[in-house]
């Protein structure tokens, strides 16, 4: 007899055990998910706390208990403070720019659906491109000696000498922003396009009949209708932008100096280049806490807009 049949016809004396078995069988549906969350969420957090409170290297973890010393040191380290600030600032700036541009492009596409289909296909290219390859392509474009951009700018007579885009503080961040913009704006375009297609076309006809200009229609009809999805897109994009690592690795390797070293890159170098795992773990906890704090208001905004719908 199978287990299922046993459970379905419990002997009177075994009812208690039968219901426990049934409970267990139902929980089995979530067992793989539980295992997965245990591996990528619970275990890392527990181990990080352990590593952060001990002096640890990659070869010999948990050497000596140091309490909160490393976490305090991380909080006070000016380079790490700057790195966390850069991660957060990059997240908001990149996401805001991409949301504005992506939504604008999506609006253009809805006006011209047939050309829009073609452009949607093209827009998929950056999204499918591995960030490392996107980084290589942009590095070739931005190269100081004979890169495409410098070559063209010099040919047009706009600059006298080549500019080292990736080697100049400030410009290096702009370069990363540009490459990230190229890679992720398409994501916003596709999601915004879907949100806009969800608006019934009668809305547009009605407001045009009422004599609204296209701008009035956009501000008073379209935007309120897509505010909730746009907020969710922003949140999603923010979370993705906080993960920035590959483009930094390929384009600038955190330089010049520490100029483009963001939190992810700082932690990675501490752990896997300097092997100071204890310090890296302490920094990771600080970074995760900061991200939680700055993401929360955006999550709140999404909930409120969603509730109003």
């Amino acid at each position: 007899m199978t287990l299922a049949a046993t459970v379905r016809q419990p002997l009177p004396a075994l009812t208690g055990a039968g219901s426990a078995v049934r409970h267990l069988r139902r929980a089995l549906w979530l067992a793989p998910l539980g295992l997965s969350l245990l591996v990528v969420l619970v275990y890392p957090l527990v181990l990080l706390i352990g590593l952060a409170m001990t002096s640890s290297t990659l070869g010999r973890p948990f050497n000596r208990f140091v309490g909160l010393d490393q976490i305090v040191a991380g909080l006070l380290d000016p380079v790490f403070q700057a790195a966390v600030f850069k991660s957060v600032a990059f997240g908001f700036v990149a996401s805001a720019l991409q949301l504005a541009a992506g939504f604008g492009i999506a609006l253009l596409l809805t006006e011209w659906v047939r050309a829009g289909r073609l452009l949607l296909t093209l827009v998929l290219l950056p999204l499918m491109t591995p960030p490392v390859i996107a980084g290589i392509a942009w590095k070739l474009i931005l190269a100081p000696a004979g890169g495409l951009l410098n070559g063209q700018l010099m040919q047009w007579g706009l600059i006298e000498a080549p500019i080292s885009f990736l080697g100049t503080p400030g410009l290096a961040w702009l370069s990363i922003l540009a490459a990230d913009f190229w890679q992720w704006t398409p994501f916003v375009v596709i999601l915004s396009f879907a949100a806009l297609m969800g608006i019934p076309p009668e809305m547009r006809e009605a407001s045009l009949l009422d004599g609204a200009t296209p701008l009035q229609h956009l501000v008073h009809v379209t935007l309120p209708l897509v505010a909730a999805p746009l907020a969710s897109i922003f949140l999603l994009k923010l979370i993705i932008a906080f993960k920035l690592f590959d483009l930094v690795h390929v384009l600038t390797f955190g330089g010049p100096g520490f100029d483009t070293t963001n939190a992810s890159f700082w932690i990675w170098r501490s752990a896997f280049e300097r092997f100071d795992v204890g310090r890296a773990a302490a920094a990771t906890i600080v970074y995760a806490a900061v991200l939680g704090l700055v993401t929360l208001p955006v999550v709140h905004l999404c909930r409120r807009l969603e509730a109003r719908r």
């Binding site: 549906w29 979530l30 998910l33 998929l124 474009i141 590959d246």
Partner: protein
Amino acid sequence: MMVGRLAIVLRAGALTLLAAFFFLPIAYLVSVSFKPRDDVLSGEFLPLRPTLDNWPGAFAATDLGAFIVNSIVVSLGSALITLLVTLPAVYGVVRLGVGGKWAPQLTLGSYVAPPIVAAIPLFFLLRGAGLINTHWGLALVQGFANVPVAYWLVTPFLRNIPVEIEEAAALDGATPVGTLVCIVIPLMAPGLAATAVILTILAYTEFLFASTFTFSDATRTLPVGLSLFQGDRLVNFGQMAAAALTGLIPVYLVGLFMQRFLLQGIAHGGIR
């Protein structure tokens, strides 16, 4: 009338510029891959003296073929693992009421943490389990890490299927497992295909875990191999471009054939 025509011209101009912008870096890679070594940094868009040498050169200079095979094996394996974890979970939560609210919230919430948070602990876990520097180890980690994305994508696909079909199956005595495998999965096939493609591409393009958990040519994935190419003292940009494009071909082919599914999958998951 004049204003209308002007608007059309402006819009066409804007769309053309946009198309050019999104296509430019790829087009430039193609161009550089045909440039001889001395022309690479000429600042010109097109090669002045085109050559084919970079393409075989890229394969000779690195283990490019092995990197691509590693990437394909790991990304397919990881997509499979993600689906095996996600499908029963979504079915359990949406249709059988297991896990209540915490399962979706915890799953989606875990996506907020950047991968660097898990990198150090997972390094110790894989090393302890003897899975460091193996295809399986990397596929497992990436597979688990992508579960929130799959959960997000699959849930609306399941919700869209009328529950009456499953109720009829249950009346006929089908078990929940049988219903999921024989009825629900076939009905969700298009959505699952989109999800599988997105998961495969996510794993194929992933860099942080791949660079941290693989360190020999037998296991390195393509992004890791390409990033090393870069570290060589004498960078041959032509070869690097050819290598990068070779790695792009599998993803772009998949994208081309699955375009519809892909757009649907992304749009469907984001907006509900």
